[in-house]
Symmetry: C2
Amino acid sequence: MSKAIKVSVIGAGSAQFSLGLVKDLCLTEGLAGSHVSFVDIDDDRLDMIYKLGTRYAQQLGSSLTFDKTTERKAALQDADFVVNTAYVLGHVIEADMRQLAAEKYGYYHTGGQFGAYHQLRLMLDVAQDMEKVCPNAWLIQSGNPVFDGCTLMTRQTSIKVCGLCHGHYGVYEIADTIGLEYPERIVWQAPGLNHNIWLTHFIYEGQDAYPLIDEWIATKGEEYWRTHVATRTHDAQMSRGAVHQYHLYGLFPIGDTVRRGGWWYHTDIATKKRWYGEPWGGPDTHLARPYFVQTLAERIAEMTRWANDPRTDMVKAVGVEKTHEQIVSIMDGLINNVEGYFQVNVPNHGALTGLPDDLVVEVPAIVNQKGIQPVRVGALPPKVMLEQILPDWLDTERELLAFQTGDRSILLYGVLNHHQTKNYDQAVALLDELLELDEVKEVEDWEKMPRISDHYKYPATMRVA
Amino acid sequence: MSKAIKVSVIGAGSAQFSLGLVKDLCLTEGLAGSHVSFVDIDDDRLDMIYKLGTRYAQQLGSSLTFDKTTERKAALQDADFVVNTAYVLGHVIEADMRQLAAEKYGYYHTGGQFGAYHQLRLMLDVAQDMEKVCPNAWLIQSGNPVFDGCTLMTRQTSIKVCGLCHGHYGVYEIADTIGLEYPERIVWQAPGLNHNIWLTHFIYEGQDAYPLIDEWIATKGEEYWRTHVATRTHDAQMSRGAVHQYHLYGLFPIGDTVRRGGWWYHTDIATKKRWYGEPWGGPDTHLARPYFVQTLAERIAEMTRWANDPRTDMVKAVGVEKTHEQIVSIMDGLINNVEGYFQVNVPNHGALTGLPDDLVVEVPAIVNQKGIQPVRVGALPPKVMLEQILPDWLDTERELLAFQTGDRSILLYGVLNHHQTKNYDQAVALLDELLELDEVKEVEDWEKMPRISDHYKYPATMRVA
């Protein structure tokens, strides 16, 4: 009663992701006999995940099979699912960009986002390859930016795209923190855009559970904020910043949504700690990010030790409990009709009121053999739309326009409107330097994009273009 | 062959406006015998304009008749046109708001915009009165904010609304400055939103004349910017700031559009002078605004002397040349089918691509007895839409949502996202103080709106709402 499929994993060397995928595939009977093709440009990482996956499956007695390649197109052949988890520039270059912005221009912890061009380029390349090689396969996008990238791919190709993110699990952190006896029993909805989702419904034992959040805030909030010390950098779901946003908007922000909000949450480490707590001030600080990256590196080091030591008990190391990832369950739904209810990022077409049809929104969906069918959730409150959702939509449209036209001056708009930018010339200089970093400019077509300062630096501005 | 109409002028004591309207009506044969009803809450101003209008018409031998009243509803009876030019709070209170923001909070020349609530309240009151008293009359809106107010009135009432502004005449300043022999012969279009219009077409003697602008910039620009000294505060059409925006967007910004642009044009007087020239740095500086207001006051003083001195030759004082205002020509078009082509602000319904139907856009229109019929101009370039038009649209939607819900926290969003705001608490404190100014709070329903700090001040934020 099982159906074997082929899953191709782009960026398979990701420490976060691939081993969990292998585990869930091994533990899903309906997908027995499936094949996983690992793709990565890093031979060592590729070799490591191939060894780990193979040994885990063998030890478990699973019929899962594997191959590995650095050639993406070969891996796409006959794929039923392509999972893209790649991060092109990587955390080190992201840190270099932030360091440049900080040390030379005085910005607090920003600049890393200018790697988006490279991510979009890769995403579109993958989807375009799929059109040629495996046009009926599903593309599961888990690398960021999910919102921008999925919108780009669905607009520019005919590939079926579904973006996945962990952020929505934040709703269970709320349930857990406010002390619901059975947090898993909550019924909830939190639609929006990826990293910008809002808890419209929060129901427990058939009752609206928002009053329980309010009661927690009133009776336990202050103590929690005074005493809580995060053990993960991303532990901010019940922070002051989250509750402040809830009070501004009347809906609780969920998951990565909490990390956004206005610039005023993000000006310096003292402010960050005030809103997002100790010890890191949330995931986006000069304290948190290196710790997060170091944790990833330690995880890779541990996995490398496993890979290099044939005596490692892989089943013991990896476990036999399914992860909380949605990805394999979605495959099981699409392939074997094991119907489920998921939080996905798919083209809108009326699911969320007031946004373009071809924009990718994050909404709940029923998944079965018919496909991924978003629930038409209706509208978010006008204030959430006008202050959070629609400005974010415009940001993404600008990002995509810059990508598609190669007009760097559109990126300049983003730097200029960063609240910490002090004047026009500073923005031009910062952007030019960021885009000229060696690792950043080593990208196809990069040289075709004019330097900002060629056209937009004052007083050169006054020249005829 | 003439048709007498009734025109009601709200805020008739405006120094700018009413006498020109009387002159144009006197000089338009097709509207002979018409009646003008002046309305103002200021008795002295009302008396002055009534005297001046009456004497001018009499001396000219015009059949125009007049009355004056402080009761708006009475004046609306049997009106064919209602012209709203009122400014509720006035320039003095605007200056008080700016002074508070500057002296206590360190902002450069901002804060005046928080009078918008009062303007919107008046506009909606006028349109709602018209629904009861003169439902078929046209409402000509010339007081600001034209974009926000006209959108509000057309959404909330069934009144026909047309907003008018002077900004588009800037295109003739371009033609004049670059030395076209017959500037009046240019054919052009500059659609957008009010105060946010972009020169899509600029044709002279059948040829695209943009290259002539480029040539002027290349050969004469630098000298002009180095030597030009403005004689009006609003003389900024050919400033560095305008040309910079042209180079950013590929289309020339027209009229008041030049005064907007990003925050980086507006941080301090040195920056303002760099972009908008000497001696005032454009119309929106601490040097320009008092001069502008003083000029208005001097004009009022002069008109008051005329009114109080029966020997004044009114025809000599006011002249017998029609003004450049569009308003009476539009009336002549609508009433007498004297067809014309105008720049108007009317509900979109497809005239400008990519904006809601019920949003008021600024577009060219053919006006005749059938009505005011906007030209479907098509689309503006994506970059102009994404960086200028759509963010402006969201600003207005937020302004209108704040007005309609009484939720001051939406105004807070505006203060927070002012680039000169340094932190959250500063924004809360400034907005609370601005909204508590005596003149500002003397408005119907004001007390129903909660103080920002009651709900959104940290750490009160952490309280249950």
